[in-house]
Amino acid sequence: MKGKFGRSLVTAITISTGILVLVNFFVRNDFLRQVQKTLLDWAIILAAVALILGIFNILASHARKIQNKKSGWPYSLFLLAAMGTVIVLGLADPRGPASPSVSWIFEYVQVPLQATIFALLAFFVASAAYRAFRVRSVDSFIMLIVGLIVLLGQVPIGQAIWGRIADAKDWILSYPSTGGARGIILGAALGAVLVGLRVLLGIDRPHVE
C-alpha cells in the first residue's frame, strides 16, 4: 500500500491486532478471548487460502512452461495431470481425502516415492562422510569422536564394540548436547520476541511495501 497514510494504517492495524492477541495471555477476559479467537480464525482462514493460492501458482507456472515448450515441459505436464487427477478424485467423493481412490494413491504412490527420495539421503551422507569428517583441528577431532560415539551408540553393534558406549551416548545427549541445544533454542526465542516487539511497535514493517 503506497502513500504515507496507507503505511500508517497498515502499521496501526498490525499493532492493534498484535496487542489484542498478546494481552489475552496476561489478562483473563471473556471479551478479549472472543476477540482473540476471532482474529485467530481469520489468520487460519488466510493460511488455508495461502495453500489454495499455492496451488494456483503451481498451475500457472507449469502451464506457462508447457505453453512455451521450455525444457522439461513433459514433467510439468505430468505434474499438472497428477494434481488434477487427485483433486478431481477427492472432490468427486464426498469423503474427500478419505475416499478409497485418494487413499490408494496416497498409500501406493505418494508414500513410497517420498520414502525413496528420503532414503537417497543415506547414500549422500555416506559419501559425504568420507570427506566431511576430516580432522583438521582439535575441535574437529572432538566432533569426530562424539559423532562416532553417538552413531555407534544408537545401534546394538556399538555395544558389541564397547559395552559402555550406550551410556556415553546417553551422557553426551543429556548434558553437552542438551546445553548447546538449549542455548540455540533460547537465542531463537529471544530473537523471535525481539522481532515481534519491533513489529508490534511499528519499528519493523516488513508487511508494508
Binding site: 488455508a48 474427500g96 487413499s103 542438551t178
Partner: protein, 736 residues
C-alpha cells in the same frame, strides 16, 4: 573530489569545509551548469545533463552575479546597476591589476571586498619606470596601447561607487604610496589633455564615444570627477599587468600612429583609437546597421602626450633609445630583419625537394670510404637489450653471421641494418631468436622444434590419467553405495550376522513414555497427532505402531489428527481394528491452529477425515479432558509448537515420538520436563518395548535392527577411512 563553490579548490570527498577558504561544503549547495542551467552536485566537474564543464564558482542560491574573476574584461555597460554587496565568489586576495580589469569606464561598480585600497582607475595605467629589468616585463601589447592612448585630461576612469561594508577600511582614501614624480606629472597632463580635447571636439560621422556609451576597455578615457582626480593622481600602480592575463580584445586593439611631439590628438579620435567599436544601445534594423560608419583607424596624432613625453618612448625608424628609456616596439617602423643564414647540415639540405640522399653528399664517412672512427664519429652506447635485437648480430653460442653492407638505397654502405626481407619472410633462425631472447638457441632445440612441428597431431599421445584421481572420482561413490546396499541386504540372507542384534541400549526417555502409557486406564482418551511427512514414514511408522498397539491393548480412546495435510492420511494407514478411534482430520494454521485447539476441540478448524467432526468425541470438548497428548513429528518446530502453544495452556502431559535425527534438539524439552516421554527412531521404539515389558521378537524387527547396525558401521568406517587417507597423503607429501 568536492570543489569549493567559493574558491574552486578541490577537496576530498566527504569534506565539510573547504581546506583553502573554509567555505562550507554542503549537500545543499548546487552547481548550476553554465550551458544548460541544470543543477548539479557540488562535486561534479561536468554537467550530468549536457556534459559541459561546470564553473565551480557558480552557486544555485547566489542572488547576485559574481564579480569578474577571470581574464575577460567586464562587459557591463556603464549605466548598469552595480550590485551593492560584494559578490559571493569574491576573493580577498585579488591583485590590483585584476581590479582594474573589473572596472568599466564610467560604470558605478563596486570594487571587491579586499583589504587593499581601491586601485587608481581614473587615470590610465601610467608607465612604470622599471629600469632595465622591469622593461622586459611590460608586454608589447600594453606598450601599443599606451602608445595609442590620446593625451586628454578626461582620460580618467570614473571610479565606481563604493559602498564599503562595515568594518572594512575606506577605499576612497587609499594609502598614500610612493608615487614617482613622472607619474604625477602624467596625471596632470592627462587632465589637461582631456579638457582640451573636449573643447576642441569635432563632430564626426561616427557615433562618438560618450560617457553613456558602453565601453569595454578598462583603459578607456572618461571624464573623472573632480574630487577623484586627486585620488587618481595618488593611486599607485602597484603591479604591472601581466601579459598573459590581459584579454585578447585589449591586445587586439589597433594601435594608432604616434602623433608628433607636442601635438595633442583629438579626444574623440584618441578614444576611438583605444576603444573598440562602441556597442550601440539598440540594435536597429539591418538597414540601419549597414549605414553605421566604420571606425576610423588610429592615427598617430591620437597618441597621448604623456605617452609621448614620458615613460615608454616610441622610437622613430633608425632612432636609438637613450639611457633609461623604454623601447616601444613599432612594428610598422622597423622593417623585417632577415635572419642570418644558418648553417644547414648536409643531411637536412639533401632532403630538400629535388635533392637526393647521396652518400657522397653525406661525406666520406657515409660513403663507406671511411670508418666512423676514421671520420671522427664516436660510436653511441647501445644498451644491452637493444644490442640483442640487432639483426644479423651473432649471440653467444650462435654461429656469427657475416654482416654485409647495404649496396643501394639511403642506407648504402651501412652494415648490420635490418634487412627488409627478414620482416617479410623471416628465417627459422630469426624466428627462434625472436621467441625468447633469454633462451639459448641451440641446434638441439631447433631440431626438436622442427620435428614437433612436422609431426602429425594423430601421433600425439593422450596424457595418462592419474590412478588415484580416477579411483576417487569414479570408484568411491560406487564403493559407498555397494557397501550400504550390502549392509542392508546381508541381514536378510545372514540373520544373526551382527552380534547382539536384538539388544538395544536402554533409553530413559523411552521408558518414561512407556510408564505414561502404562498409567492410562481403559476409557481414557489420548490425542495422537501425526505431524510428519510420508518421507520419514518408514522410520516413524514402526515406533508409532508399537505405541499405538499398546494404547489399543489398554482400551483407551484415541483421537487422531494432524497439523500437516498428510497427517490424517498417514494415521489412516494403521490397523484400527477393534480400537476406539476418531480421526479429526487436518488442523490448519500450524501454531495458530494449536492455539485455537486449546480453546476447545469443537471450536478448532478441524476438517475431519471421511466425515464431519463430532461435537464431543468420546465426551471430550477441550484438551483438558484428554489424558495424554502424543505427537509423532519429524520436525523440531512441531514439538516447539505443541510445547509453547498447548503445554503452557493445559496441564495435559505431552509426549513425542520423533526421528532420531532431531533427538538432540528435542532432548532439552524432555530434560526440562516439558515432555513426559520421548521415543526416537527404531532404537527408541525397541527401548520403549523393553520398558513396557513387551520386547518384540519378530524376525523382521531383528533384521531391521541388524541392517541399521551394519549401515551405521559402514558410515563410521567411511569416516575413519577418509581420515586415514587424508592424513596419510599429508604425511607422504611432507616426507617427499
Amino acid at each position: 573530489m568536492i570543489y569549493c563553490p567559493n574558491c574552486g579548490t578541490a577537496n576530498k570527498d566527504g569534506s565539510g569545509f573547504c581546506n583553502q577558504c573554509g567555505h562550507k561544503l554542503g549537500s545543499g549547495s548546487k552547481t548550476v551548469c553554465p550551458s544548460c542551467g541544470a543543477p548539479n552536485p557540488i562535486e561534479n566537474v561536468f554537467c550530468d545533463s549536457c556534459g559541459a564543464k561546470l564553473a565551480p564558482l557558480v552557486t544555485k542560491g547566489a542572488e547576485e552575479k559574481p564579480g569578474v574573476k577571470g581574464l575577460s574584461l567586464p562587459t557591463k555597460p556603464l549605466d548598469e546597476e552595480v550590485p551593492e554587496e560584494t559578490p559571493e565568489g569574491a576573493s580577498e586576495d585579488v591583485p590590483d591589476w585584476l581590479h582594474r580589469l573589473r572596472y568599466v569606464t564610467g560604470a558605478d561598480q563596486e570594487p571587491l571586498a579586499t583589504e587593499k585600497p581601491a586601485p587608481e582607475l581614473d587615470a590610465p595605467m601610467p608607465p612604470q619606470d622599471l629600469g632595465g629589468e622591469g622593461e622586459a616585463e611590460i608586454p608589447d601589447w600594453l606598450r601599443q596601447l599606451r602608445a595609442a592612448a590620446p593625451p586628454t585630461e578626461e582620460a580618467q576612469v570614473e571610479p565606481p561607487a563604493q559602498e564599503q561594508p562595515e568594518g572594512e577600511p575606506s577605499k576612497e582614501e587609499p594609502a598614500e604610496a610612493e608615487v614617482p614624480e613622472w607619474m604625477r606629472q602624467i596625471g596632470a597632463e592627462v587632465q589637461q589633455a582631456v579638457a582640451a580635447a573636449e573643447a576642441a571636439e569635432v563632430k564626426s560621422d561616427s557615433e562618438p564615444v560618450t560617457e553613456e556609451t558602453p565601453s569595454i576597455s578598462p583603459l578607456a578615457e572618461t571624464p573623472a570627477e573632480p574630487e577623484e582626480k586627486a585620488i587618481a593622481e595618488e593611486a599607485p600602480l602597484q603591479e604591472p599587468l601581466p601579459q598573459e592575463v590581459l584579454p585578447v580584445a585589449v591586445a587586439a586593439v589597433a594601435l594608432p600612429e604616434e602623433p608628433p611631439p607636442g601635438e595633442t590628438p583629438a579626444p574623440a579620435e584618441a578614444r576611438e583609437a583605444i576603444l573598440p567599436p562602441a556597442v550601440p544601445e539598440e540594435v536597429g534594423p539591418p538597414e540601419e546597421q549597414e549605414e553605421a560608419p566604420p571606425v576610423p583607424p588610429a592615427s598617430e596624432e591620437a597618441l597621448a602626450a604623456w605617452l609621448q613625453e614620458e615613460g615608454p618612448v616610441i622610437l622613430e625608424a633608425g632612432e636609438e633609445a637613450a639611457e633609461g628609456e623604454t623601447i616601444v616596439f613599432a612594428p610598422e617602423e622597423y622593417p623585417a630583419v632577415a635572419l642570418p643564414q644558418a648553417e644547414i647540415p648536409a643531411w637536412l639540405e639533401s632532403l630538400a625537394p629535388g635533392g637526393g640522399m647521396r652518400p657522397d653528399a653525406l661525406g666520406p664517412a657515409f660513403a663507406g670510404k671511411l670508418t666512423p672512427e676514421e671520420a671522427g664519429l664516436e660510436r653511441a652506447q647501445i644498451p644491452a637489450w637493444l644490442e640483442l635485437l640487432r639483426p644479423g648480430r651473432a649471440k653467444e653460442g650462435e654461429i656469427p653471421v657475416e654482416e654485409t653492407a647495404e649496396e643501394s638505397g639511403i642506407l648504402e654502405g651501412v652494415r648490420g641494418a635490418l634487412r627488409l626481407v627478414e620482416a617479410i619472410d623471416p628465417s627459422p633462425e630469426t624466428q627462434a631468436r625472436a621467441v625468447s631472447e633469454s633462451a639459448a638457441v641451440t641446434p638441439e632445440r631447433a631440431e626438436l622444434l622442427t620435428r614437433l612441428l612436422g609431426e602429425s597431431t594423430s601421433s600425439l599421445v593422450k596424457p595418462k590419467p592419474i590412478p588415484t584421481q580416477a579411483v576417487r572420482e569414479r570408484g568411491l561413490p560406487w564403493l559407498t553405495a555397494l557397501l550400504l546396499v550390502a549392509a542392508v541386504v546381508l541381514p536378510f540372507f545372514l540373520p544373526g550376522l551382527v552380534p547382539g542384534g536384538n539388544t538395544v541400549p536402554a533409553s530413559t526417555p523411552a521408558e518414561a513414555l512407556a510408564s505414561s502409557v502404562q498409567s492410562l486406564q481403559p476409557g481414557d482418551t489420548v490425542l495422537v497427532s501425526f505431524d510428519y511427512d510420508p518421507g520419514v514414514s518408514t522410520e516413524l511408522d514402526w515406533p508409532a505402531r508399537i505405541v499405538l498397539d499398546d494404547l489399543k491393548q489398554k482400551g483407551v480412546n484415541i483421537l487422531l489428527m494432524g497439523t500437516t495435510p498428510t497427517g490424517p492420511g498417514l494415521a489412516a494407514r494403521f490397523d484400527w481394528t477393534g480400537a476406539q478411534m476418531v480421526n479429526l482430520g487436518y488442523l490448519p494454521g500450524q501454531e495458530m491452529g494449536l492455539q485455537q485447539l486449546t480453546a476447545g476441540i469443537t471450536g478448532a478448524a478441524l476438517a475431519g477425515f471421511g466425515g464431519a467432526v463430532p461435537d464431543a468425541p468420546f465426551g471430550v470438548r477441550s484438551l483438558s479432558d484428554v489424558k495424554l497428548i502424543l505427537t509423532v513429528a519429524s520436525s523440531q518446530e512441531t514439538i516447539r509448537w505443541w510445547v509453547e502453544q498447548v503445554g503452557t495452556q493445559v496441564q495435559t502431559p505431552i509426549a513425542a515420538i520423533v526421528s532420531a535425527a532431531i533427538e538432540p534438539a528435542v532432548r532439552p524439552y524432555y530434560a526440562s520436563d516439558q515432555l513426559a516421554g520421548l521415543v526416537s527412531g527404531w532404537v527408541g521404539g525397541q527401548a520403549y518395548q523393553r520398558g513396557s515389558g513387551s520386547s518384540s521378537t519378530e524376525n523382521k524387527d531383528v533384521i531391521a535392527l541388524e541392517a541399521q547396525s551394519l549401515a551405521h558401521l559402514v558410515i563410521a568406517g567411511l569416516i575413519v577411512l577418509g581420515n586415514i587417507a587424508y592424513w596419510g597423503k599429508r604425511l607422504i607429501g611432507r616426507q617427499s
